[in-house]
C-alpha cells in the first residue's frame, strides 16, 4: 500500500464526515427542514409517504438525496471494483430490524445522522437521543459478544445487486418527470406534501447532486454513524469515530456561519421535548442498527454496493415508516404518538428475541 493510499484510508472518515457536516446545513439553507439537511430515516419516511404507503399529508416527498446516496455508492463501487452482488444473511430478520429501527427513529424524530445534526444545530433534545443511541449500541455489542450473528451472505447473480439501484433509478425518473413536466406537483399515485416538513426541500437537482457526492464519499470512507460508536466501545478503534466528530464540528461551524445555530430545548424544528421517548426511541434504533451491522446510511451504501440483504433492510425501513404513521407510532412536535411507546417496547422485545436466539457457536469461539 502506498503512503498516499494509506493516508487516505486513515482520513477518509474525517473527510467524509466533515463534508456531510458542511453540506447538510447548506441543504437546510436551500430549503430542507430544520436540522434535517440529511436524515436517512426522515427522508425514507417521506418517500414512503410519497408512494402512498402512509397518508400523513405533511411528510410526503421523493427525497432525491436517498436515491443519490445509493447511486453514488454504486458508481464508486463500480469504479473501484467493489460492486459485489450478495444476499442470504437472514433477509427476513433484516427486514424487521429495518422496520423497527425506523419506528425507533421516528419516535425520536431522526436517524443517528440527524441526531448528530440536531446536536450541531443546538437542539439539546438530541442529547437524550444520543445517550439512547449509545445505550442501544452497547446492548447490541452485548449480543455480538455472546455470539449473535445473522449468518453469512453468499455471492449472488448480478441482478440481485442491481435491484435496489434499479429502484432508485426509477424513482429518479419519476422525480425528473414531476419537476420537468408537472411543475413540481405530484399527481396520480405519487403524493407530495403542500405543507409541513415534506413540503420543505432544496431544489431537486441540488439534493440529487449532494446525495451523489455523499454516497460516493461514504462508500469510499465506510463511514457509519453506528459503527463509529460500536467500534470504539467494542474494539477500541477510533477510526470511524473521528469521522463523526468531524461531522458534528463541521456542522456546528456551518450552522453558526449560516445563522442556523439556535441552542435550546423548546421550539426546535421537527422535534419534541419528551426526554424519555427521545432516549428510548434511539435505544431501539441503536440496537436494531447494531444487530443489522450498520446505520441506515451504511445500509444505503451497502445496497448500492450490491448487498441484497442491506436492500431488504432499506425496504423494511420503508414499510416500517408506513406502519409508523398509519398506526400513530411516529412522534410529532407535540410529543410521542399514541402507540409509539408501546411500539418501542415491542421492538425492543423483538430485537431481544433475535439477539438471544440467533447465535453461531463458531463466532463465539
Amino acid at each position: 500500500m502506498s503512503d498516499k493510499q494509506s493516508w487516505l484510508n486513515t482520513y477518509w472518515p474525517v473527510i467524509a464526515g466533515a463534508s456531510v457536516g458542511v453540506l447538510a446545513p447548506i441543504l437546510v439553507k436551500l430549503g430542507n427542514p430544520g436540522n434535517m439537511g440529511v436524515c436517512v430515516a426522515c427522508f425514507t419516511r417521506d418517500i414512503s409517504g410519497a408512494l402512498g404507503l402512509h397518508k400523513a399529508a405533511t411528510v410526503q416527498y421523493l427525497r432525491p438525496e436517498i436515491m443519490g446516496i445509493v447511486l453514488g455508492a454504486l458508481a464508486a463501487a463500480l469504479l473501484f471494483r467493489e460492486f459485489r452482488p450478495r444476499t442470504g444473511s437472514a433477509p427476513i430478520v433484516r427486514f424487521l430490524l429495518g422496520a423497527f429501527a425506523m419506528i425507533g427513529a421516528l419516535v425520536f424524530l431522526g436517524c443517528p445522522w440527524r441526531a448528530y445534526l440536531r446536536l450541531s444545530g443546538g437542539d439539546w433534545n438530541a442529547l437524550y437521543g444520543l445517550v439512547g443511541l449509545v445505550a442501544g449500541i452497547w446492548a447490541g455489542i452485548g449480543f455480538l459478544r455472546a455470539g449473535f450473528s445473522l449468518g453469512r451472505s453468499r455471492p449472488a447473480p448480478a441482478t440481485v445487486g442491481w435491484v435496489m439501484p434499479g429502484l432508485m433509478l426509477i424513482l429518479i425518473v419519476v422525480v425528473v418527470y414531476i419537476f420537468t413536466s408537472l411543475a413540481g406537483s405530484a399527481a396520480g399515485p405519487i403524493y407530495f406534501s403542500t405543507s409541513g416538513p415534506g413540503s420543505q426541500h432544496a431544489p431537486w437537482l441540488v439534493s440529487l447532486a449532494v446525495g451523489l457526492v455523499i454516497g460516493t464519499m461514504l462508500q469510499r470512507s465506510r463511514l457509519c454513524t453506528v459503527g463509529a460508536v460500536r467500534d470504539m466501545i467494542m474494539l477500541r478503534d477510533p477510526h470511524l469515530l473521528r469521522g463523526i466528530i468531524a461531522l458534528v464540528g463541521a456542522a456546528f461551524l456551518t450552522n453558526l456561519l449560516l445563522g442556523q445555530f439556535r441552542p435550546g430545548f423548546a421550539g426546535q424544528p421537527v422535534a419534541h421535548t419528551a426526554a424519555l421517548w427521545n432516549f428510548a426511541g434511539m435505544v431501539l434504533a441503536g440496537l436494531a442498527f447494531t444487530l443489522a451491522g450498520g446505520c441506515p446510511g451504511r445500509q444505503l451504501i451497502l445496497a448500492g454496493e450490491g448487498d441484497g440483504d442491506a436492500g431488504i433492510f432499506v425496504l423494511g425501513m420503508l414499510v416500517g415508516a408506513g406502519f409508523a404513521h398509519n398506526f400513530s407510532l411516529a412522534s410529532s412536535p407535540a410529543g410521542p404518538g399514541t402507540y409509539g411507546p408501546v411500539a418501542v417496547v415491542i421492538g425492543l422485545l423483538v430485537c431481544a428475541v433475535f439477539g438471544f436466539s440467533m447465535r453461531e457457536r463458531e463466532i463465539a469461539g
Binding site: 459485489r84 449468518g151 477500541r236 469461539g365
Partner: protein, 75 residues
C-alpha cells in the same frame, strides 16, 4: 511459512463488526503467532488489517480471488 502453525479464520460473508471482532479475539487469545483471516469485502479487509496493526501485529493482504482476500497476521 509452511512450517508455521497457521490458524485460519473464515469471516467471509459476515456483517460488521464480526470479521474484525473475530480477528481481535483470535489475536488476544493467541498472544503471538500466525493467523490468517479470510474476508470477501474491502471494508472487512481494511478493518481486520487496521485492528491487527492497532494491536501491534503485522498484517499483509493478498487477493486470492476477485474480491476475496487473505489477511496474514503475524507477531
Amino acid at each position: 511459512m509452511s512450517t508455521m502453525n497457521v490458524k485460519v479464520i473464515d469471516a467471509r460473508g459476515l456483517s460488521c463488526p464480526q470479521p474484525a471482532a473475530m480477528a481481535k479475539q483470535a489475536m488476544t487469545g493467541a498472544g503471538a503467532g500466525a493467523i490468517d483471516v479470510l474476508v470477501d469485502s474491502a471494508t472487512a479487509r481494511e478493518n481486520v488489517a487496521r485492528i491487527a496493526r492497532l494491536a501491534g501485529w503485522e498484517a499483509t493482504v493478498a487477493e486470492e480471488a476477485a474480491g476475496e482476500y487473505r489477511i496474514c497476521l503475524r507477531k
